[in-house]
Every structure is written in structure tokens, then in C-alpha cells.
Assembly symmetry: C2
Homo-oligomer: 474 residues x 2
């Protein structure tokens, strides 16, 4: 939760809490709804559907990076399976996506002790010129340490960022470490570096490197950027510790192709008397190019699809429409999310709640929200049904997730079941993100939480008002 | 331990035990020796030497496969470090080694759902013809299931062996599973298969495949052979479970070059009044080509080197000579071990005990032996000093290890501190066998056990008689 440093903010927060407390008696759900939700919870815990979907997507499609043949195959897979499962209004929403291809990546220590390193190009990295490049390495911990260096110490060198990511349940370790991946190449280029090598943004000691998007700035010519695995980073540091100059060679054949076509895939469980209002369940269909993306984000696709499918069988029926959105290209620029949020204010106004699953296969350990104060009693009622699954109740300032971020910024209320990220970053954005990493029980627990939350939100009698739009540039 | 199924064997074993028990009073070591051994144990536990050696070998040399530049660099490294550490008679023993090069290995499922697989060629595999090969897969569990098939079911196909290795402390799971790697390609070729794919002989769920030697037979033309990682094996089986024909493509550019020169590296801590007798501490200097071999076998090199170095500082001095032998090319045919054992009977007769470290970085959990009955009291005294380190006393029928196997077969007594192999096969023969996998405390405990055992064997007053040679062809 955020610490309020300004008095008026603290006052507002207190006011919210008091308003919410006073609304407790006006519980927004019928007893029958809660009983049905408990039944739904139990059905979800024993349903094999989500695991079957993860297996199917990783087996039949596998890697599905924006613009690749796998991306198109994933869209076909999604349409086919959503139709097979009896969803209504299954459709594609066209999305234009960037199309970056990785090619080969070869990184070696050439001095003082030659060894090949396990490396991957960061997503969006430019390639090296033919024949590659070689230069001496300068080690810095992070962006701050880089900025403290004189440009002359960096010019002509390869900058190596050594900071190691912390393992955390709430993914905060990732949030801190990923700055180097996102901004390191541009920052190093601005000081005249010829390339960037980062210690992998990941928590495992496997000799497997983690990719992920990097970015450049228009004012500085881009330089190639790669991640090396944690053991390779250790090796590089041990060679640097010898006190002798360390030279690396890099050869990368990555390149950017013209933009390609992809699609958000949308499917619905129609509501009854409030069918015009939408409870959105989102996940992303794409993966990085090197991985079948079982956790990222086949698991999310499976969680939201299975949750919606289980809701369809419930009595009483959901009053609001449950909409599953499988977003295109989350990984390399949120293309699907931006396209979805650009539908116009009338369409966005129909969205009364958004939830996203994009942090692995669970279990859910906390529910956070960002809803109007008058909706907090509903959040608490939802929590009361999933609390026996080991779920805590968090605060009301969640960011919600990357793909529903644009909706949140437009004022759409958000409910965030927090997936346990403790081990997620062992395999995130790597070849190692495979089906065997999915724990079926954790996955089912996650389905149960998403299903209960979406169902009760779709049943609630009270309106679910929007919040003020967020200035995303703040 | 072996179960005796023949009465005369049981009788012999009983006789050994009785003889050994009667020799208990004739404890072969002085009280001062045991006190010194306890001091040695403590010094070993606090010595950083072994870990420093693993770091040095993996940082400064890395992969060191027989015949490669790394192999030559490792020999230089060993000579340099053994001299630096004050060993006597540091020398090379020339060894001719085979020289296989891996080249590229690319394996993909091409039908029904195309995906690239993480694969490595098995050591010694032939390459495919240019452009590779593609064929339908037939799945069998193991050699037995293959043999049960009619040749017509196998001819023209790629045989996939699905058996999964069991995790065990004593490496018995490896012993069972590795049969498929060693003999599968020849067995499948004999039935007309065009290639073999095995589920990796390893226990981790990482998307990293394990290499290791395979072999062919003269009577059948060889076929290419690869291992795929456990998650890739799961994927292949999930595609096979679809009921649709599964086709794989393989392209391997492996080839055999002319034999190369390498060397066993030998160094000694000279004994005093029995310096002509040798207590041998062995490990292997080579590694597979794809790995820095921190556990396999930089750890073994470090354990035996550190143990001998610590013994050199002890008072009273070892009466027998402690000889460290760092064998060439254990991995791909035991070249160094064979060369060493071919020195002639007079030289072999000088070896009164052999110990080997080649199962990771410890800890030691048991001591086994294969010694004459009259030496068993010494084994028990050794055990009494290391028992506080959590070491059990095993039987007297150990195989000892691969590199000292030829000596054992010639009748040289063997003492086997058993290194805990529970996690060893997570990284064995993979790129993932890196320094971070070495637990410094486990490594030091292992050094302590090897040091105490070698020291007390070198101090013992009683002779350490040879056993009858073993018919290794039995």
C-alpha cells in the first residue's frame, strides 16, 4: 500500500474508509448469490479445465510472439477453443503489432579467459553489424552507478549491469530490477557505450537467460543489448575480479520487420438484466518468441477462460456480461491493450470492472482493488468467499495489470487477485516456462478466486461506478 | 550392498566379517594418529582451498573436453596450481584421447504441432547427412520395450525412449536409466531405426538437456542420437498422446576428428619411511564440451587436491606417499584411467589404496570399501573420525569409481567416500553445471573425509594388501 505523505490524501483515504464502513450494512449481494459463489468456488477447485487449456496451448501452439506464425496459430487456437466451450460472441479484434525477430545471439568472453556465455538478446535490441563487435567491459551495479561515471569511462565500452533481482511474492523485486533492462541500453548509449549486457532479470540459478523488452530513445543511436544468465554473470564478475581487462564479443542478428497483423480474441458469457454492463477478465495470448509461455501467460488465459466457463453454468445466472479478452502482444508494447482501450468512451463506459491474470499460475494470496468507495462492501463480500482459500484482503490502490492498465487509466474499476510471484521469475521470459512448472492445484485455486470475484461482481445489485480517469503521464 | 544369492559367497562374507571382528583389538593406528586426523578434519572444514580451486578451474578454464583447447588449458592449469601449492613430482603422463566435436544440433517437431526442442547430441553421436533427416517417431519406454517390438514397427522410424531417471542419493537411478543412453542407439539401429531420441538422463525439470557418452557396435551402421530435456520430452509425449503421427526433424553436425594428445596430471606429497607405497587420490580433469563442469569434476579435482595439500601440513607426516592423479578424458572413454593402469605390475603393486571423487561436491554420507579383511579395522578407525560429519559406514564391495576401476580390477584396495548424489543429476553433463551449484560447506566436509581417510591410510602401521584381481569381463 502507498504511504500518504500529503494531509489531504490521508483525509480522503480516511473518508473512503468511513464511507465504506457505513456501507457495510448495505451488503450488495443476496444470500443466494453468496451460496452460489461458494458452490462455484468448489466447482473451480475440482475442475481440470484450466490445466487442460494450458496443456493444449503449450502443446499445440507453443511460442506465439507478436507477428510470428505462432501468434496467428494462437489466435486460431483461442477462437476454436472459446467456441468449443460454448462462449457467445467469439470474435477477433484486429490489432497491428510490431514484428521483431531475434535471429542468433552469440556472446563470449574473449579475454582474459575465453568462454562462451549463455545469453539472449533483449526484446527490441538492434543487431550488431555483420561480424559482431568486441570491446572491454565496464561493470556498474545499476543506472545510478552508471550515471555517476564520467562519459570517458564508458565511451567505446560494453556496459555490464550487475544488479541481481530479489525474490518477492508481490513481484516488487522485478519492478525494481527491470529498470536496468528497460532503460539501461539508452542510458549507456547516451554515454557512448557500444553495447549493454545485463545480469538476467530473473531469480533462478539456472544457466538460462531471461529476455524482455528494452527500449531506446530517439535522441541517441541505439546499441545492442543482451541478458546473460545468473551463472554467466557470476563468471563474468569472477573474471573481472581477476583485475585483468575483460573483453566480450557480441554477435546479434536481431532485426525489426514491418508491422504485422494480430488480434485480441474476445468472448462472452452474456448477462441477463444488465447484459450491457461488462465485467472484463483479461489475459494475454502472446508469449515471448523463445518460450511456450506456460506461466506467461497460458496460465492467465486458462484462469480467465475457465473462470468464465464455470460462471456460465451457474444459477442464478450472471446479471452482467462476463467478457473474456485475450490480448494481443502484451510482451512487446501492449498493442492489444491500447487497441482495446481506444474503442471510444461509450464502449469503455460499459466496463464496470476489469480483472487481469498475468503473473503465473497462482495461487492467489491477496485481493486488491481500485474501486469507488461505495463498491468496497462488494469487495469485502467477495473476499469473504475466497478467504478460506488463503486469500488476504489488500488495499484499494492496485495498478491492476499491464493489459487493463489503459482501462484503469480511463476510470474503469479494477479488482486484482494477486498471483503468488515467488517462483514466477525463475522461468519468466525464458525457454524454461513450460507446462511442468504449472501446479494444477494452485491453478485451480486461482480459477476459483477469479470466478467467484467475477461472478459476484456480475450479480451485485448496486451499480459499480467508474473512478476519475488517471493521468498516466504523472 | 549386494545380496548374496550363492551359499559360498555368503559363507565368504561371513568369514570376512569374523576375521575383521577378531582384528578389532589389533587397531592399526596409534592414538596420536587419530588425534592428528581429528585436527586434520577440523582444518579441512575451515579451509577455503577446495572452493577456490573450483572457482579457479571453472573461471579460468571452463569447458575442457578431451582433445579441445580447454583440455590443454586444464592440463596447464593443473600443473601450474599443483606446483604453486607445493606438491612434489608434479608431472604429465601423456594420454591419447579421442576427439569428437559436437557441432550444431537442431531438433524440431514438424508434425502435428511444429515446435523446436531443446536437445543435445549424445557424446560420440554421428552427424546427420547434410540437410538432416525427418521421420515419424515411435515411443518406447526402455530397451526391453524396444526389443519386444517387431523390426517392421521400428524400421525407418526415430525411436524415442521415454523412461525417466529416478532421483536417488546413491546414483542408482542413474545406473538404471543410463542403459538407454549407452545402448539405445545401437539397439535401435539394429532394428532399422534412423535415429534415436532419449528423454534426458537427468532429474531436473529445467529445459536443459544432458549429454553423455553413447556407443555403437561394429555389426550395425551407427545412427544419430540426441537427448531432449525433460520438459521437451513431456511436450513430445503430449503430442504423441494426440493420437496423430508425430514427425521429428534432426540436424546434427557432430563428427569425429583424429585422436589428440592429453595428459594425466600427477603430483605427490612424499611419504616418509614407506614412501614407496602409494595412497592414490583420483579425480578427472576433463569435462563435457558444453559445461564448465563445476560438479563434474572440478569439485573432485578440488576435493582430492585440497585433501592432499592439507595432509602435507600435518604432523606426524604421512608415512606412505599421497599421490594425486587428475585423469584425462574420463567422460569419453576413460583414456587416462586405462593409460594409468597400463604402467605395469611393478608400478601397480606400489598402490596400496585408491580413492576417487567423481560424484559432485558432497557431502559424503557413507564410506564404502573394497579392501582385504585384515584392512577392515583401519576402515572402521577411519570411519570413527569422520562419523561426526554425518558419515555412515557401508559395505566392503564398492566399485570405487570409473577412473580407479582399472586399478580395482587389478586388485588395488579401494576406499569410497560416497558423495551425496541427490541433486547431482540435476546438472550433470549440462551447461548448468556451474560454480553456484557448489555448496562450500558440503565441499569442505568432503575434503575432510577424503583427507582423514587418506592420511590415516598413509599412517597405518599394518600393510594394506592387494586383493585378487577382478575379471572385469564377468
Amino acid at each position: 500500500m502507498t504511504v500518504h505523505t500529503r494531509p489531504w490524501r490521508a483525509c480522503l483515504a480516511l473518508l473512503s474508509t468511513l464511507l465504506a464502513a457505513s456501507a457495510l450494512d448495505a451488503a450488495p449481494l443476496e444470500r443466494a448469490d453468496l451460496a452460489a459463489a461458494r458452490e462455484l468456488r468448489q466447482r473451480a477447485l475440482s475442475s481440470p479445465l484450466a490445466y487442460d487449456l494450458v496443456r493444449s496451448l503449450t502443446t499445440e501452439v507453443g511460442p506465439r510472439f507478436a507477428g510470428s506464425p505462432g501468434d496467428a496459430a494462437a489466435v486460431e487456437w483461442a477462437v476454436r477453443n472459446l467456441e468449443r466451450l460454448g462462449f457467445s460472441n467469439v470474435r477477433r479484434m484486429d490489432v497491428t503489432v510490431p514484428h521483431w525477430v531475434r535471429g542468433r545471439t552469440e556472446v563470449s568472453i574473449v579475454e582474459p579467459f575465453p568462454q562462451k556465455l549463455v545469453a539472449v538478446a533483449l526484446g527490441g535490441s538492434i543487431g550488431t553489424e555483420e561480424g559482431g563487435l568486441a570491446a572491454e567491459v565496464i561493470q556498474v551495479r545499476d543506472l545510478e552507478e552508471l550515471q555517476a561515471l564520467d562519459d570517458s569511462a564508458v565511451a567505446g565500452r560494453i556496459v555490464y549491469f550487475s544488479q541481481r533481482m530479489d525474490r518477492t511474492r508481490d513481484a516488487s523485486g522485478y519492478g525494481r530490477a527491470v529498470q536496468v533492462r528497460a532503460r539501461g541500453p539508452a542510458a549507456a548509449a547516451a554515454k557512448g557505450a557500444v553495447a549493454v549486457v545485463i545480469r538476467t532479470i530473473g531469480t533462478s540459478n539456472n544457466r538460462i537467460a531471461h529476455t524482455g523488452a528494452t527500449g531506446y530513445v530517439d535522441s541517441v543511436p541505439p546499441i545492442p543489448a543482451v541478458a546473460i544468465s545468473n551463472p554467466d554473470a557470476d563468471l563474468l564478475e569472477n573474471q573481472l575480479a581477476s583485475g585483468r581487462p575483460v573483453r566480450l564479443s557480441l554477435e546479434i542478428t536481431a532485426r525489426e520487420l514491418p508491422p504485422a497483423r494480430s488480434a485480441n480474441v474476445i468472448a462472452e458469457i452474456p448477462g441477463t438484466d444488465r447484459s450491457d454492463e461488462i465485467v472484463l477478465l483479461g489475459a494475454h495470448l502472446d508469449s515471448w518468441d523463445i518460450t511456450p509461455g506456460a506461466l506467461d501467460d497460458a496460465a492467465g488465459v486458462a484462469i480467465v477462460t475457465a473462470a468464465a466457463r464455470l460462471i456460465a453454468d451457474m444459477e442464478p445466472k450472471p446479471r452482467r456480461t462476463i467478457r473474456v479478452v485475450l490480448f494481443a502482444n502484451e510482451e512487446f508494447g501492449l498493442s492489444g491493450a491500447r487497441t482495446y482501450a481506444a474503442q471510444g468512451s461509450q464502449e469503455i463506459a460499459r466496463h464496470v470492472l476489469a480483472m487481469e491474470a498475468d503473473l503465473g499460475a497462482g495461487p492467489v494470496w491477496m485481493i486488491e482493488s481500485r474501486v469507488a468507495p461505495e463498491t468496497l462492501p462488494l469487495v469485502r463480500q467477495i473476499h469473504s468467499v475466497v478467504e478460506p482459500l488463503g486469500v488476504a484482503l489488500g488495499g484499494n490502490e492496485t495498478s491492476g495489470g499491464a493489459d487493463i492498465g489503459p482501462l484503469r487509466n480511463l476510470g474503469v474499476p479494477v479488482l486484482s487477485p494477486q498471483l503468488d510471484a515467488t517462483n514466477y521469475f525463475d522461468v519468466h521470459h525464458t525457454v524454461n516456462d513450460t507446462l511442468d512448472k504449472v501446479n494444477p492445484e494452485h491453478l485451480s485455486q486461482s480459477v476459483a478466486v477469479f470466478a467467484v470475484a467475477a461472478y459476484l461482481a456480475a450479480r451485485a445489485d448496486a451499480p459499480l461506478p467508474h473512478l476519475h480517469p488517471v493521468d498516466a503521464t504523472r
